[in-house]
């Protein structure tokens, strides 16, 4: 509040660039899904425009921020923005968790004849025995094995939890204005993130190649890959954020009291972490 006025930029080309990028991206994606020949190209062009937009837009914001144009109210707005954005992401995952719970608690047992499903089982799926994991009464995708939770997934859990610690160490370092420690902790976090992604990728290959577990493996495969897949996507985004922030740290951006960009990335990282805990418990363990 002390440092003056609320900064209101007057005009900007980035949003319209972004909108055009999203437009092309969406058309490309839809085309691609329908096996249209131009799909992948449009998709890539759209993605490139979006990346260009983010780069341009964020550079502008960084410039303004480092130029001291933002007062506390502005950074408070950014904070609000980030918090609510993360909340929206939580709700996105909630939809998929909801699907998982519904399938396990209702749909599959009903198909197996429990509760209101007695006739369903008897008339339509008499041979079906409800168990979890399942690929459904029609055995979609053929036989498969699941990935045991207390192997690599547990390791991944530990990796992500550790990365939560390292990023907090980085934050402390930043608050104490210890630049080198800050960068070191950030690099450690990124290393953990990349390791996580690597293991996750390995696991996917293993599932597809050796276990017969695919996206098409009935409801189990669907929920497993969609949940872990979207999580993985978020880890990738989070990792990119961490990389950008680390570079900025190395360039001497942020002060001990004013480092919204850092915090945003850290919050996002914690969010990704918490979602993983949910996944670990409900997808792998229980």
């Amino acid at each position: 509040m002390a440092q003056g006025a609320y900064y209101v930029p007057h005009s900007t080309k980035w949003p319209i660039v972004g909108s055009v990028g999203m437009f092309i991206f969406a058309i490309g994606a839809a085309n691609w899904l329908n096996s249209g020949p131009t799909g992948p190209w449009l998709f890539a062009i759209g993605a490139a425009i979006i990346i260009y937009m983010m780069f341009g837009w964020f550079s502008e914001v960084v410039r303004e921020s480092e130029g001291g144009l933002y007062n506390d109210a502005v950074s408070s707005s950014f904070r609000q923005g980030m918090i609510w954005f993360i909340f929206s992401e939580v709700m996105f995952f909630a939809a998929f968790f909801g699907a998982l719970f519904y399938a396990r608690m209702f749909a599959v047992p009903w198909l197996g004849g429990e509760g209101t499903g007695a006739m369903t089982n008897e008339l339509l799926w008499p041979q079906y025995d409800a168990t979890w994991p399942t690929h459904g009464p029609a055995e979609r995708g053929g036989d498969f094995e699941t990935i045991p939770g207390f192997g690599l997934p547990l390791l991944n859990t530990l990796i992500l939890l550790t990365s939560g610690v390292t990023i907090t160490m980085a934050h402390w370092a930043l608050k104490k204005a210890q630049r080198t420690a800050l960068v070191v902790w950030m690099v450690a976090t990124i290393a953990l993130a990349v390791t996580f992604l690597f293991i996750q990728g390995y696991e996917y290959v293993h599932a597809y190649r050796d276990l017969g577990l695919t996206l098409g493996s009935g409801i189990y495969g669907s929920t497993f890959f969609m949940l872990t897949g979207f999580h993985g996507l978020h880890v990738i985004v989070g990792t990119l954020m961490l990389i950008v922030i680390t570079i900025r740290c190395a360039m001497g951006h942020f002060t001990k009291n004013n480092h919204f960009g850092f915090e945003a990335a850290a919050w996002y990282w914690h969010f990704v972490d918490v979602v993983w805990l949910g996944l670990f418990i409900f997808v792998y363990v229980i």
């Binding site: 009903w110 499903g117 006739m119 369903t120 008897e122 008339l123 339509l124 008499p126 029609a138």
Partner: protein, 304 residues
């Protein structure tokens, strides 16, 4: 002086609003009473709730229009200053709650009645297809398809040149009716082959979705002989409007005769069915749903 003014206007407005409301009831259709105990329960429940909300509406509008008529600037009415009254606010929170409880009690008991599907004397499996119905009489081993009748089907085509008014029971007639005995507790087992449909005969008092891969249960007990017509009630593609349902309720004796006459008819595949109007979906809907034959598994049910 203002008080009496308000009262007189309120009574006048009340009279007007009531007259209008009754006028609206007089010109309109109401829900059919139906021919089953459940449909009658629903009919009464509907009327009760309709009555209650009508009275609420009349009171609310009366208060509002009284104010509109009396508290006008053009009449030199000076605005009052009050902005709050705990007493009033508690009242108009509590009274609606009480009204809701009064509604919830019969609603709950009717619902509980309906959901008890036990004690069935006969079972009919109903399967929805795009766009016809299949009926399997489980105990009597009869099974057939039922689709829009030819006359309606011809008349409904764009530019058919046939005036729908010249067709008997336009869009509400089928080739093979669902014949059911009266005074019998009948359980329906509903499912679908391709997409979700919904089986609705208003005179029976309910509709229930027919969902592919799942069986839904519902039951009826028809008290009067007659022909009862309904339609598919869940959007199921281009001919959703053209898959009617006709129930012919006959006495149990006549029903037995009808069963005899069928002589264990074998089901046709829907494509062979003369009244079949589907499977020629408009452009774009190219694929057949994946498992047609697989899901219709006419297992004969042991008396359940």
């Amino acid at each position: 002086m203002k008080r009496t003014n308000e009262l007189i206007v309120a009574l006048a407005v009340l009279a007007v609003v009531t007259v209008i409301t009754w006028g609206l009831f007089a010109v309109g259709d109401n829900m059919p009473r139906g021919v089953t105990p459940f449909s009658k329960d629903v009919y009464h429940l509907h009327n009760t709730v309709l009555g209650i909300v009508t009275v609420i509406g009349i009171l609310v509008f009366t208060a509002m229009f009284t104010s509109v008529v009396v508290h006008r600037k053009s009449k030199g009415y000076e605005p009052a200053k009050f902005t709050h009254s705990t007493k009033a606010e508690i009242t108009w929170t509590t009274i609606p709650i009480l009204i809701l409880i009064v509604i919830a009690i019969p609603a709950t008991s009717v619902l509980i009645d309906m959901e008890d599907t036990g004690g069935a004397e006969m079972n009919v499996k109903i399967t929805g297809y795009q766009w016809l119905w299949k009926y399997d009489y489980i105990e009597d081993g009869i099974s057939f398809y039922s689709a829009l009748d030819r006359d309606s089907n011809r008349a409904r085509q764009i530019g058919s040149g046939i005036n729908p008014r010249d067709v008997d029971n336009y869009l509400l007639e089928v080739d093979n009716r669902l014949v059911l005995p009266t005074n019998t507790r009948i359980r329906f087992l509903l499912t679908a082959d391709d997409v979700i449909h919904s089986w609705w005969v208003p005179e029976l008092g309910w509709k229930r979705d027919a969902i592919p891969g799942m069986i839904n249960e519902a039951w009826t007990y028809i008290e009067e002989e007659g022909v009862y017509r309904g339609q598919c009630a869940e959007l199921c593609g281009k001919d959703h409007g053209f898959m009617p349902i006709v129930v012919e309720a006959v006495s149990p004796e006549e029903y037995r005769r009808w069963v005899e006459a069928q002589g264990g008819e074998v089901a046709m595949e829907p494509e062979e069915h003369p009244g079949f109007v589907g499977r020629d979906r408009a452009s774009g809907s190219d694929e057949q749903p994946e498992e047609s034959a697989e899901t219709i598994n006419i297992a004969v049910l042991e008396q359940g």
